[in-house]
């Protein structure tokens, strides 16, 4: 169990892997495993909505006009393998979650986030198959929400 814990933690290539840190101490043949919460690196960078606290989700509160080319925002909703994070993690309402999901798909089809992709990806849009290697853009007004 212990070694399994350690292994899962060391798989990741990028630095700090978790908001929880696992500390293992060994004293007099007693091993203590402690789970410690660490401070989120995002905490200081969070944007505050204009009119203070409200019940709406973070994107509704900010009232952003998100485009599929805004990769610096969209990449926050994506794991390092390019998968969209679930609603439980992003905290978005159903409408915004759907919209962000489509915008992320648009950005990936345009080849704007090639570094957020599965491990087997070549990470080069120009190396894609057939028509997928050519530049394309999308119109956000065609989205149903």
């Amino acid at each position: 169990m212990l070694s399994a814990l350690n292994q899962t933690r060391h798989i990741h290539v990028s630095s700090p892997v978790s908001l929880k840190e696992i500390v293992v101490k060994e004293e007099d043949n007693i091993i203590t495993v402690e789970g410690k919460y660490i401070k989120s690196p995002r905490e200081a960078l969070l944007v505050k909505p204009e009119h203070g606290e409200c019940n709406s989700c973070s994107l509704c509160a900010l009232n952003l006009n998100l485009k599929h080319t805004d990769v610096l925002v969209l990449s926050q909703f994506v794991r390092s393998d390019g998968c969209m994070l679930p609603k439980r993690v992003t905290g978005l309402c159903a409408r915004q979650q759907k919209r962000v999901k489509w915008l992320v798909a648009m950005a990936q089809k345009s080849g704007l986030m090639p570094n957020l992709a599965p491990s087997w990806s070549k990470r080069d849009p120009k190396a894609r198959y057939r028509s997928k290697k050519y530049n394309r853009y999308f119109d956000e007004s065609t989205l149903p929400v």
Partner: protein, 178 residues
């Protein structure tokens, strides 16, 4: 005629050479702009019988961008004239064969259908990349504005820029960052 008037005359009737960078541009919207320059309709001295069109040098035509699924859905038709001579080529197949062809065909179809058409097409110089022969580059004196902003890829931002960018939401406390 005064010296000023003479120079004004040269400037009015001289041929201009415009540069247009087709990188991430929609070829169908760009063609609307290019055809106005080729025919000279943007000039106040324009007249049907007045040959006042300017030259347009298009670079990076291999990096044009098509909207949505148009690479797969747009079809170019050709018929050899013989029996069973019809062929249908998808936009991406045509672009793969010749990266200047989509833009050239679009401009050609947007020009008015008369005897001036071929002559106007001769004023259009398309290059798939940014390598232009010096004999053409030395004439260029102006640039056409691009119609769409060129998007920046996430991996072309520095690591610091991505990390220091304001964040929209924070992960829940038990989340494991992957």
């Amino acid at each position: 005629m005064s010296a000023v008037g003479r120079v004004q005359q040269w400037a009015t009737f001289g041929r201009m050479w415009y540069l247009f960078d087709a990188k991430w541009q929609n070829p169908f919207h760009s063609a609307d702009k290019i055809k106005d320059i080729l025919t000279g309709t943007h000039k106040p001295i324009y007249h049907d019988l007045n040959d006042c069109g300017d030259h347009v040098v298009v670079i990076n035509s291999s990096e044009i961008a098509l909207p949505g699924v148009e690479w797969e859905k747009r079809v170019y038709f050709h018929h050899t004239g013989y029996a069973k001579g019809a062929s249908w080529t998808l936009a991406w197949q045509l672009h793969h064969k010749d990266p200047t062809m989509i833009l050239r065909k679009t401009v050609y179809s947007k020009l008015s259908k008369n005897l001036l058409r071929r002559g106007r097409m001769e004023k259009l110089h398309i290059f798939p990349d940014d390598k232009i022969p010096d004999s053409i580059l030395e004439n260029v004196s102006a640039q056409l504005r691009q119609m769409r902003p060129i998007p920046k890829r996430l991996d072309h931002y520095t690591r610091e820029e991505v990390e220091k960018f304001p964040k929209v939401f924070d992960w829940p406390k038990d989340y494991i960052i992957k």
